[in-house]
Amino acid sequence: MHPSSAPSTAAEVKPDFVEESLYEVHRKVHPRAVSGIFATWRWALVWFTQLVFYGLCWLPWNGRQAVLFDLVERKFYIFGLIFWPQDVIFLAILLIISAYSLFLFTAVGGRLWCGYACPQTVYTEIFTWIEQKIEGERNARIKLDAAPMSGRKLWLRSAKYGSWTLLSLWTGFTFVGYFTPIQTLWGSVWSFSLGPWETFWMIFYGAFTYLFAGHMREQVCKHMCPYARFQGVMFDPDTLTITYDTERGEPRGARKKGVDPKAIAKGDCVDCGICVQVCPTGIDIRDGLQYECIGCAACIDACDQVMEKMSYPKGLIRYSTEHAIASHWGWKEILGHVVRPRVIVYAVILGAICVAFVWGIATKPSLRVDVIRDRATLAREVEGGLIENVYRLHVINISEASHRYAVSVSGLPGIDMVGERILEVPAAGARSFSVQVRVPPDAGRKGSNQIFFDVKSLADEKVAVHEKASFLQP
């Protein structure tokens, strides 16, 4: 990368060109704090998502954790629902729903996800808030960065990094608490009996939170996020984006308060640079739409405050669309263009998948039975000349209550079974039972015959499974 430093070992060969990295040098972004309607929205989303994340794992439900992705038992509990590995289709559908929601929101409102709800944004917001509380506002932070190490700087830095570490560890603990019951986990923290892997994942997740939200921040959005790279394909000229009204703003320039821009032949932009200072990714929105813009609307809030001070109308930077800016549309026309083929297609697909998802969850069976023929003994003759086949019934009780099930068999004349006729399976449990099925030697034809097992709950006869099996007649 830096061959200019290499020739020191071979002084006689001096290259007459110097290779330079094509990457721009990363400069640390010190976003200035901002207040306003969109900042309020972002904080509302921070509170909402983090109350859910930090709180939900402590919520009890039927004597267990309400939301628990129990990896050891291979069962996912979400309130009253229990998902087994067989239900992976629901996870797949959920991912498709998330993807289509993202497409739909992006097509209509641009990068709403990035600006308000993405964990990267949310944690950066929290970490920046801590930083600002400890080290002060933007200018104080820039000064502190440049200052040589001193007692005060050391104290401020330790306080900041310490607070970040505590928050990160708590985040890591909460994360692991969704996979291991959190009450037990909390107990083991205090008795120093955490498992090695639990400890590892807690620190791993915590360290990533610290690194991403504390140090990398906008770098993650700019260089690591795949969505940031392809979100552009969902955009069209009617998509809402954060837009600087060039026509109104230019030519920009400083002036005294209360000066009529027309009198000095200037636009409304006073070139105060606050929109650049508040930007968490460090761009200048006045250069037009850029892929680095995460759509956080901090520049809108900041510019509106300046416009208010200058007694100019707000909205020099605002949510608008390419068409709206070009044709001077108001909100009425913008909203009138929300419904368009792309949006309709996304909405229809999303709606259909959501309906299928809800229907699938609502009609999810609470009992599942697998019949496995015993392959060791195909068929044998037992007392009374009857022919016997042996099966294993694997009964999975997906409900939250233990159930007793009655088993019966049908499909051949004189068919009967030996073994347990009442099967008891605990809540959210699975058990295997051995069942011997016997028929008279003249029943059915030689070879394979179709028979049926019926497993019915004694408590609720709607909970029943009619399962096919084959009986081998020698």
Partner: protein, 89 residues
């Protein structure tokens, strides 16, 4: 630094997806290690599995990064008798 991220980051994401799919379909207790049933705890198996996937995916990304080196960079130093003809690298 950028190249390290190119290797580690996409492989991390893909390893996460692979881990999810693999262990949804396969119960860790059905796995065999050198002919012996796996006797680690499930959490340990999941964790080792994840890092296994990550290493494999990282190896693939590493090769991609390796093969992306342009001709100019590979030729660098070979034509040192007439340097300066290519300053674009």
């Amino acid at each position: 630094m950028q190249k390290i991220l190119w290797v580690l980051w996409p492989s991390f994401i893909v390893a996460g997806v692979a881990e999810g799919i693999f262990f949804t379909v396969i119960d860790p207790q059905e796995l065999y290690l050198f002919g012996e049933p796996v006797h680690f705890s499930k959490i340990a198996t999941y964790s080792i599995g994840f890092f296994g996937f990550w290493v494999v995916c990282a190896a693939s990304s590493l090769m991609t990064v390796f093969l992306q080196v342009g001709a100019a960079e590979v030729n660098k130093g070979v034509g040192s008798t007439s340097p300066g003809h290519d300053t674009t690298s």
